[in-house]
């Protein structure tokens, strides 16, 4: 009797376990939310760090600030207007003169900003660079040269209350180049700007990419180069460094035609060789030059790609073309574009860092304050057609949205140039899908380009 009960119990246990296993098989696990939602409004207060005039006594700088908020935005402009709280009617933009490295702080809102500089001596030229929303422990500069005629400077700004120490490493086409005085560390005291004249440290190199790495603290870093080579036009290169490497870079502006020489500089800071493909995006289609399908960039080196040498004979006059540089082996890199103009209407040089993101909303600062030509270039890297509206933000007035700036269609894999007339300040680009926006401008003495500032969704 007892044994029979034991057997029955054993069978019941086995049955229960089998049922349980069956239950396991037909049910799934509970999925946890990645992070519990945080209720309540966010606290908004943001500062942008804008570069100083390249040569304090021989150049001027202006900062364009903008806001898309729906109400007046209080902001401060240090150190020029220290202790003074100003207000910007929003949405709108304002141009302000900068005499030093500037911190623009918006209270309760976001205030993207960018700086343009005019240089009068020793050369005459102009350039534009975005202000940075943050300081970083690493900055990449693919473009650069210490060759004769290039006066290159790295501008390091430490907005923090502690001293920062930066180590600078250079990369050439043959590998990295360490200079003891820079590699050991350059101190940037708290709240100060340090300008490094690269030619004082490095032998002449035609291509000299740079990486600024912090051994302590973090900084904002820009590169400025006063260029006056014998063979090419004089001008100013001015750009904000890239804080991160990426596998894709978009460069909407650019041209491959007679009198214009576009060069793509690729810096591979990683320990693996990067294989990249470079595509040209025209107004009609995306072209893939065969020689640019697989371009090898050895580990810890940089490479300069003059497009005219790679597009083949038939492609020498493609005209306006944006560039998309992609890594085909997932090695992250950084891409920067330089355009040399040697035309009757304009001569000069501009360089600008690529954008690693495509977004539907952009604020696009002016590249020059008094341009001869001013162009907004929109690049659609996606597979769908995108419609774009562009508004001109103004100071103490409502945004201007001309009819021709409404409903601009950018086809898939194409780019679109929009001529901006007048002395327009910040542009607000709103698209139905992800695009990349850049602004290029020329004057009689120089050319400049500046990438837009992504402005969220």
């Amino acid at each position: 009797m007892i044994e029979q009960r034991e057997r029955m119990l054993a069978i019941m246990i086995a049955g229960a376990l089998l049922l349980g296993i069956g239950f396991d098989l037909v049910t799934g696990s509970v999925k946890a939310p990645a992070r519990l939602p945080v209720r309540g409004d966010r606290i908004v207060e943001q500062t942008s760090y804008c570069p100083p005039p390249i040569e304090a006594a021989r150049s001027t700088a202006q900062v364009t600030v903008a806001s898309l908020a729906e109400e007046r935005v209080p902001f401060s402009f240090d150190p020029q207007a220290a202790g003074k709280l100003m207000h910007l009617e929003s949405p709108g933009s304002r141009v302000m003169k900068a005499e030093a490295t500037t911190a623009v702080t918006a209270y309760g809102s976001v205030m993207p900003s960018a700086s343009t500089v005019q240089v009068y001596d020793p050369i005459v030229g102009a350039g534009a660079a975005r202000c940075s929303r943050f300081a970083s422990t690493r900055w990449y500069f693919p473009e650069g040269s210490s060759a004769l005629g290039f006066d290159e400077k790295l501008i390091l700004y430490n907005p923090f209350p502690d001293e920062a120490v930066a180590r600078i490493t250079f990369f050439t086409e043959t590998g990295d180049l360490t200079r003891a005085r820079l590699a050991e560390g350059v101190a940037v005291p708290a709240g100060t700007t340090k300008v490094l004249n690269i030619n004082e440290f490095v032998q002449p190199q035609p291509l000299l990419s740079a990486v600024v790495e912090m051994s302590r603290g973090r900084v904002v870093a820009w590169r400025a180069s006063l260029v006056d080579p014998k063979e090419q036009a004089a001008g100013v290169q001015f750009s904000l460094g890239a804080p991160n490497s990426a596998t894709t870079w978009y460069l909407p502006a650019g041209s491959v035609e007679e009198g214009v020489e576009e060069k793509i500089n690729i810096l591979n800071p990683s320990r693996d060789e990067a294989i990249v493909s470079v595509s040209l995006v025209t107004a009609k289609e995306t072209l893939q030059p065969p020689k640019l399908v697989e371009v090898a960039v050895p580990a810890a080196s940089s490479r300069r790609l003059p497009l005219s040498e790679f597009v083949g004979r038939g492609g020498h006059n493609i005209g306006g073309a944006g560039v998309i540089v992609r890594s085909t082996n997932s090695v992250r890199f950084v891409a920067e574009r330089t355009i040399w103009y040697d035309l009757d209407a304009v001569s000069g040089v501009s360089s600008e860092m690529g954008s690693a993101v495509a977004q539907p909303r952009w604020l696009v600062p002016p590249a020059l304050l008094k341009p001869t030509t001013d162009t907004l270039v929109l690049l659609n890297p996606g597979p769908g057609r995108i419609t774009v509206d562009v508004a001109i933000l103004r100071d103490r007035a409502a945004p201007d949205v001309p009819a021709k700036f409404r409903g601009i269609v950018v086809g898939p894999g194409t780019r679109r140039r929009i001529e901006i007339s007048g002395n327009a300040g910040m542009l607000f680009v709103r698209a139905t899908g992800p695009v990349v926006a850049e602004r290029a401008a020329t004057s009689s003495r120089d050319a400049a380009a500046v990438m837009g500032i992504p402005s969220g969704s």
Partner: protein
């Protein structure tokens, strides 16, 4: 057990004899040798006519050589009426006499208590009787005690004491008896070597204090007699030769070490007998002396003695309720105030001089014998070495080596900081203080009920004398040892010793410990250590197995205690215990219809309810919003806990993979479980089936919680699968027993082959699976969890501590999952950031509620930084007194680095450290409300444009709930602790008005004041609760482990 009392009526009574008082001599003996014979001859030789003798054998070993005690008594007490009784187990001197007198009816007027190693000289009894009868007030008389070997040497002529109950002989070492003390005097007490007591007085005093077992009971009896108004005298004309067998090492005693019993009984005696106010004054002195003694022993490198001190104190603490009840009874009989006894006591200085003199002689003697001692020890070591051979010793050494290798990370690394397994705070009493404090200094601070877990964990740093690192290691080792002992005990009534060891090892090295250590799941480990003991008592309550002399109440008390300890860390363990009880009862009922298993379930339910009550008032908060169980089962958070069960279910529990465990040894568990059922016979098989039902039920629960069909009531699968793991350990023990004991009883056949094969396979799986895990040291806190190493955390703590020493108290914000718990738990809710003090997260930071308004404000500030809407996060965090941000490197790092008021002060591969330049002090007075608080309150960041006023006056921290400043200025006093109306501020004693400061507490400071005090006062309710909790636990411990003489007598009667 039966005890026979025999009286040999050999005495002729006459009328004359009836007129003198009758005496009953009681000789208590235990493992006596030849000296008992001498003692009985001495009694037999007394001329006193009205003398009866009762020999009480206090459970001597029957295996001792020599004739039985009864025969000795019969041979040497021919002239006397005599009796012989034997206690069922050793009760100690006093306990044995009490027990004997409860068994024997006697009308003797006087009782003579005599040690079995004491010879009463002829004629002594008459003199003692004469002395006691001379005055009615004399209740106790003792003789002059001399040496057994040399009767000219004095041993004792009455005793004195000091205020603390330390005895004082007043004799020189080896003093010659020249009649210098031959004067009958009143003394404080006489020893139990030989003592004549009036029977009626003895009865009125309720006899000896049997709880003392041995030592100091004579002092206690005499003290009580004195309190009741009786006198104690010494009659030097009466003489006793005393062997002092225990002191001279000629006999053994079950009551060793003697120092432990002496200390413990002395404290009990003092507590019982000293009058009301004096006892309160004496306790601090006693504690200081206790501490000094401990320090002395530490210097002399005698940890055993320190342990004895702690044990003695602990015993008194546990016995306090009973002691207090005794005290009340004794004090009711008081007729003599303590001051009238002072003439019989000595000053401490006298006693200390004597002590020092005695110790000096001892040291001198010890040095003299040093060479002899070394030689003897050398010989002992050689003998021990010669015994240490053979495979058991080799296995023991290998096992110890393997365990050391396996647990090397726990033993030798810095304190772990993973999950709930956090370092101890620096101060030895920090956890007790956290337990008793009305304000919990955890996170942003919170009020709430006392946390029983803190009190339980708080004992370990006391044991390591404040060494925090060692305390954590001791905690883990203790839990492992407890798990081993518990699992071995679980099957001890059913299996032999090797099987018990197998069960213990399977559990201690099994999945709960493995997974618990790796995930830092302290709750699971405590639950795991307590569970086998609770299950054992449940098995007894339900009637599966009951040992002889089993006591239901004690089992209930033990279940209550075990479940309370488990639930202090894992509240849901109460549900699991109940499920286990139901399964055990159901199985028993099914297999044995007549069994009254329901009674066991009811008893278990009562015990679990008592367990819950022991955790009050904390346990009352489990179900409120944000409470321990509410967090697990409701709101947005339950999914976080349920997701932790992913991959677990019936199959994983069945295959020994839940909790997380190496595959092969895990698979060996069900295989051995099958062997236990298939091969076991009788009760072993039944028990195995019962364990399988527990596994099946637990597996179902895990599966249901994993799928979301049942909201998790425990935080992780490691906790949920504890009952299954215990059951598997039991099955391992039963399988080994079945293999060793049942298989040989079965006929040779297929079963042998299958069992041998199965057993071999299981052993292979265990060895091949555990071997590599042992070598790899898989029992490493945080291993494979992706959490930041303890070294790095220790490094950060060092930096923070140095800063805290220089700059004062502030908070640190730790960002990233690398610091958080691998699995969320009750004690450490899930979060990818945490707030700590300057020492990083320590055990007292557990059980943060993480809900409420202040927490929401902090969350909003952190979210603003993370989402990049602000880059002045330093100001926001500074409002919370956060001075440092420790940032795990990861995708969100750049947002933190973008904060322009956070300076980067340290860069490492795994983490970054940021320092906040703007932060509010923990408590300070500001001219105006700081803008940082206003920004958080209003959301208007432009308020931060105006620079905040620096804290003019910073208040000093007295404790986590009290801040003071000895100067003040008009403005706003802010204490950066979570808003709670319980915070109060006074200026020169006058209460201050509250100011709305958002998340913190603010008070308006008027002009003209000086002394500012900000305090979260301890309420009367909390004090009452603390006392009730302590009393509850003491009572529960007493009920679970205490042994009363009445219980012993009942056992015998049964």
């Amino acid at each position: 057990m039966t005890t026979r009392v025999t009286y040999a009526d050999t005495r002729a009574e006459s009328t004359d004899e009836r007129s003198i008082p009758s005496v009953l001599a009681i000789v208590v003996t235990h493992d006596a040798k030849d000296w008992l014979r001498q003692a009985l001859i001495g009694l037999n030789a007394q001329k006193y006519p009205m003398l009866d003798v009762l020999v009480v054998d206090d459970a001597s070993r029957r295996s001792l050589p020599g004739p039985p005690l009864r025969r000795i008594a019969k041979r040497h007490l021919r002239r006397r009426r005599w009796g012989f009784v034997r206690t069922p187990r050793s009760l100690g001197f006093g306990g044995a006499i009490n027990w004997a007198l409860s068994r024997v009816r006697t009308d003797a007027d006087l009782l003579l208590f005599l040690h079995d190693d004491a010879i009463l000289e002829p004629g002594s009894l008459e003199k003692m009787v004469g002395r006691i009868m001379a005055e009615d007030s004399t209740a106790i008389v003792g003789p002059k005690v001399v040496s057994w070997e040399d009767p000219t040497r004095l041993e004792e002529v009455g005793m004195a004491v000091d205020r603390l109950g330390y005895p004082y002989k007043g004799l020189e070492q080896g003093e010659i008896d020249l009649g210098q003390h031959d004067r009958s005097t009143e003394v404080f007490f006489v020893t139990s070597t030989c003592m004549l007591v009036r029977h009626d007085v003895f009865r009125s005093l309720k006899g000896w204090d049997a709880r003392m077992r041995a030592f100091v009971e004579d002092l206690d009896l005499c003290w009580r007699a004195r309190i009741a108004g009786h006198e104690v005298k010494v009659e030097p004309a009466a003489k006793v030769r005393h062997l002092m067998g225990l002191a001279t090492g000629q006999r053994t005693s079950p009551y060793l070490p003697a120092r432990y019993f002496i200390r413990r009984n002395r404290l009990r005696t003092m507590t019982k007998n000293v009058s009301g106010v004096r006892v309160l004054a004496l306790y601090p002195i006693y504690l200081i002396l206790l501490f000094l003694e401990a320090v002395g022993f530490a210097l002399l490198r005698q940890p055993g003695e320190i342990l004895n001190l702690a044990k003695a104190f602990g015993w008194n603490l546990i016995s306090l309720p009973q002691t207090l009840s005794e005290r009340a009874r004794i004090q009711r009989t008081r007729r003599v105030p303590d001051r009238r006894l002072r003439r019989l006591t000595v000053r401490e200085s006298t006693r200390v001089r004597s002590y020092v003199h005695h110790q000096a002689e001892r040291i001198e003697e010890a040095w003299g014998r040093r060479a002899e001692l070394i030689a003897r020890r050398g010989e002992a070591a050689r003998q021990a070495g010669s015994r240490l051979k053979g495979w058991p010793v080799a296995a023991l050494v290998l096992g110890a080596l393997a365990l050391t290798i396996a647990f090397r990370h726990i033993l030798f690394d810095p304190p772990a900081a993973v999950g709930e397994l956090l370092p101890y705070p620096e101060r030895a009493t920090a956890l007790f203080r956290a337990w008793a404090s009305p304000w919990k200094a955890v996170g942003l601070g919170e009020s709430g009920p006392t946390l029983p877990a803190f009190a339980l964990l708080g004992f370990f740093p006391l044991l390591t004398l404040g060494a925090a690192g060692a305390a954590q290691k001791l905690l883990i080792i203790t839990l492992g040892v407890m798990a081993f002992i518990g699992a071995a005990a679980l099957v001890r009534e059913l299996v032999d010793k090797p099987s018990r060891y197998a069960a213990g090892a399977a559990y201690a090295l099994g999945a709960v410990g493995y997974s618990g250590v790796r995930e830092g799941s302290l709750g699971a480990m405590v639950f795991g250590a307590a569970a086998p003991f609770v299950l054992l008592q449940m098995i007894r309550l339900i009637g599966w197995v009951r040992p002889p002399n089993w006591n239901r109440s004690r089992s209930v008390a033990r279940v209550a205690l075990g479940s309370a300890i488990s639930a202090a860390f894992v509240p849901g363990s109460l549900v699991l215990y109940f499920v286990v009880a139901v399964m055990l009862a159901a199985t028993r009922t099914f297999l044995d219809r007549g069994a009254k298993a329901l009674r066991g379930v009811l008893a278990t339910s009562v015990a679990l309810a008592i367990g819950w009550l022991l955790l009050l008032p904390w346990s009352a908060t489990w179900f409120v919003d944000g409470g321990a169980l509410s967090r697990l089962t409701t709101g947005d958070t339950w999914r976080l806990y349920a997701a932790g069960f992913a991959g677990d279910g019936t199959s994983s529990v069945l295959l020994g993979q839940t909790p997380d465990f190496p595959a092969l040894p895990g698979l060996a568990l069900p295989l051995l479980g099958l062997i236990a059922v298939g091969v076991g016979i009788g009760q072993r098989r039944h028990m195995a089936l019962a364990f399988w039902t527990v596994i099946a039920a637990d597996a179902w629960l895990v599966g249901a919680m994993s799928s979301g069909a049942l909201r998790p009531f425990v935080a992780s699968s490691t906790e949920a699968a504890v009952p299954a793991s215990v059951a598997f350990a039991g099955l391992v023990g039963l399988a080994v027993a079945a293999f060793r004991q049942d298989l040989p009883r079965r006929g040779l056949g297929l079963l042998h082959a299958v069992t041998l094969g199965g057993f071999g396979l299981a052993v292979f799986m265990v060895v091949s699976g555990m071997g590599p895990a042992l070598v790899r040291g898989d029992w490493a806190p945080g291993r494979d969890s992706g959490r930041i190493e303890a070294d790095a955390i220790s490094q950060i703590r060092d930096v923070l501590e140095i800063e805290a020493e220089i700059e004062g108290q502030s908070r640190a914000l730790w960002i990233g999952e690398g610091w958080s718990s691998p699995n969320p738990s009750i004690a450490r809710p899930t979060s990818d950031y945490m707030i700590t003090g300057p020492r990083g997260q320590v055990l007292s930071d557990l059980y943060e509620t993480k809900t409420g308004g202040p927490q929401a404000v902090l969350e909003r500030a952190v979210a603003s930084i993370r989402e990049g809407t602000t880059d002045r996060g330093g100001g926001l965090l500074g409002a919370f007194n956060i001075r440092f941000v420790v940032l795990e490197r990861g995708p969100g790092t750049s947002k933190w680095l973008a904060q322009r008021d956070l300076g980067l002060i340290r860069t490492e591969d795994e983490y970054l450290m940021l320092e906040n330049q703007i932060f509010l002090e923990r408590a300070a007075i500001y001219a105006e409300l700081p803008s940082e608080l206003q920004v958080l309150q209003t959301g208007d960041t432009s308020l931060s444009f105006a620079k905040s006023d620096d804290a003019g006056i910073i208040a000093e921290q007295r404790s986590s709930s009290h801040y003071v400043a000895d100067s003040a200025r008009p403005g706003t006093a802010v204490i950066t602790e979570s808003y709670d109306p319980g915070w109060e501020a006074t200026l020169d004693g006058a209460p201050l008005e509250r100011v709305d400061t958002g998340w913190a507490n603010g008070f308006e400071v008027p002009t003209g004041g000086r002394n500012l005090s900000i305090e979260f006062p301890r309420g009367l309710t909390q004090i009452i609760w603390l006392l009730v909790i302590v009393a509850g636990w003491v009572l529960a411990f007493g009920a679970a482990f205490g042994r009363t003489p009445r219980a012993a007598i009942n056992e015998v009667r049964r």
